[in-house]
């Protein structure tokens, strides 16, 4: 049950995030992390959970070019009981500019807090993603240029540091 609730929660969270990314052109988007109520026997009707996090892109934020971003379809859970109290860490999901991972806290069967452990600004803090415009990074296909330069910068394949560093990153991920 725990797993089911958690995975449903994560799906809903990512669906919400996907919608946020898709709807960035609108002035305000709020992600409501709200589980679907299906059991009529529940004493308190959902949702009563704090909508967290609240995503409010700043007025000046221009949506970055996101050629591959498509909204994730919202999957409605068919059956869902009360959450079991505790803290749950979701899996890491690739969000094009980076990974997203959340941790949810359940108290009295309700989601009381959602913390972003990772999000695409590579800051592993619980900072909300309010108005934090995604970096507007330009892209281009590389083309050969005139070789009229003083110096050439490039990697040497013998870069031991790179291999060490990458190995350490991969080891951490296991």
């Amino acid at each position: 049950m725990k797993k089911l609730t958690l995975s449903l929660f994560v799906i809903v969270t990512f669906a919400g995030f996907g919608l946020y990314r898709w709807l960035q052109t609108s002035t305000e988007v709020v992600i409501l992390v709200t589980p679907e109520p299906t059991q009529s026997s529940l004493p308190t009707p959902y949702p009563t959970a704090k909508p967290s996090p609240t995503v409010t892109p700043s007025a000046g934020a221009t949506p970055p070019p996101r050629p591959t971003a498509t909204p994730t379809p919202v999957i409605t859970p068919k059956k869902l009981g009360q959450y079991v109290d505790g803290q749950y860490t979701g899996s890491v999901a690739d969000a094009y500019y980076g990974n997203i991972q959340v941790r949810a806290t359940i108290q009295n069967g309700l989601i009381t807090d959602v913390v972003f452990l990772q999000y695409p600004n590579d800051r592993s803090t619980s900072r909300e993603i309010n108005g934090q415009a995604m970096p507007m990074l330009r892209q281009e296909a590389i083309q050969a240029q005139s070789a009229n330069v003083h110096i050439v910068s490039g990697a040497t394949d013998s870069s031991g540091a790179f291999r060490e560093s990458l190995a350490s990153a991969l080891a951490k991920a296991q």
């Binding site: 590579d122 281009e140 590389i142 240029q145 005139s146 070789a147 490039g154 990697a155």
Partner: protein, 249 residues
């Protein structure tokens, strides 16, 4: 005055554009690189780092230079969420990922302290640039084409008083996998160039950001005073928002 030598297993070029620069000025740089190599090369049985790794030296017996470098490595690891790590799987230390940029930076200071303003040091493609070139215009640095490293450059930047480092691998067929999605191969990056206030800073962050894969360019974007140019497996370059300030010569 320009000279090139093979030192520390790489090509090191020093050029001083100022009038009055002589052989002794350039040799001072080469001598310094040799000194660093003797101390920090993990390939030399007599180097201090090798002795430390073999347990022949205690922490109290380390030179000031070694202590400073190890401290900078720890700081860099901290700044990069652990992506910059000099500890090998066998527990030994290899600070060469930091020593290179640090040594270039110190070598540049040697030239500066000899009264020169217009020069560069290029050690294996990592560069510290000061002032302007002999024709009075900014030094122009080309970014090597990772898919054709012998033949081509794919971007030209003009910098003064800056450091520029490129991390990457040009080995064809080598793939990097997203550690969190090992089954799905991603078109990851082959080259990441970082321009920063000096080569020490540019080099250490280029190394760490490259290990982050595609997220590396976001890491650079979020670093004040640094710009980056990343090339992925598909030959698409992604640049930070301020990078073009260096491309308008």
């Amino acid at each position: 005055m320009k000279e090139t030598k093979i030192l520390m297993g790489m090509t090191v070029t020093v050029e001083i554009a100022d009038i009055g620069a002589g052989e002794a000025d350039i040799n001072a740089v080469f001598d310094y690189f040799n000194h660093v190599d003797e101390k920090f090369s993990t390939y030399k049985a007599t180097s201090e780092i090798t002795k430390l790794n073999k347990g022949l030296l205690t922490k109290n017996e380390l030179s000031q230079e070694m202590c400073a470098v190890l401290e900078m490595c720890a700081e860099t690891k901290n700044l990069t969420d652990g992506y910059f790590d000099i500890t090998r799987p066998d527990g030994t230390l290899d600070p060469s990922g930091l020593v290179k940029g640090w040594a270039i930076q110190n070598a540049a200071d040697i030239i500066k302290n000899r009264g020169f303003e217009n020069y560069y040091i290029d050690a294996g493609g990592d560069v510290q640039v000061s002032g302007v070139s002999g024709d009075g215009r900014p030094w122009k640095i080309g970014i090597r084409n990772p898919f054709n490293p012998e033949q081509e450059i794919v971007k030209v930047v003009s910098v003064r008083d800056a450091g520029m480092a490129t991390s990457g691998t040009y080995a064809r067929g080598q793939h990097i996998y997203n550690p969190h999605h090992k089954k799905s191969e991603i078109k990851d990056i082959v080259s990441l160039t970082v321009v920063g206030p000096n080569i020490y800073e540019a080099d250490r962050f280029a190394t760490a950001a490259f290990a982050m894969g595609k997220r590396g360019i976001d890491f650079i974007e979020n670093l004040a005073g640094f710009e980056g140019y990343m090339i992925d497996q598909a030959g698409i370059a992604t640049m930070t928002s301020g990078f073009t300030q260096y491309t308008h010569a």
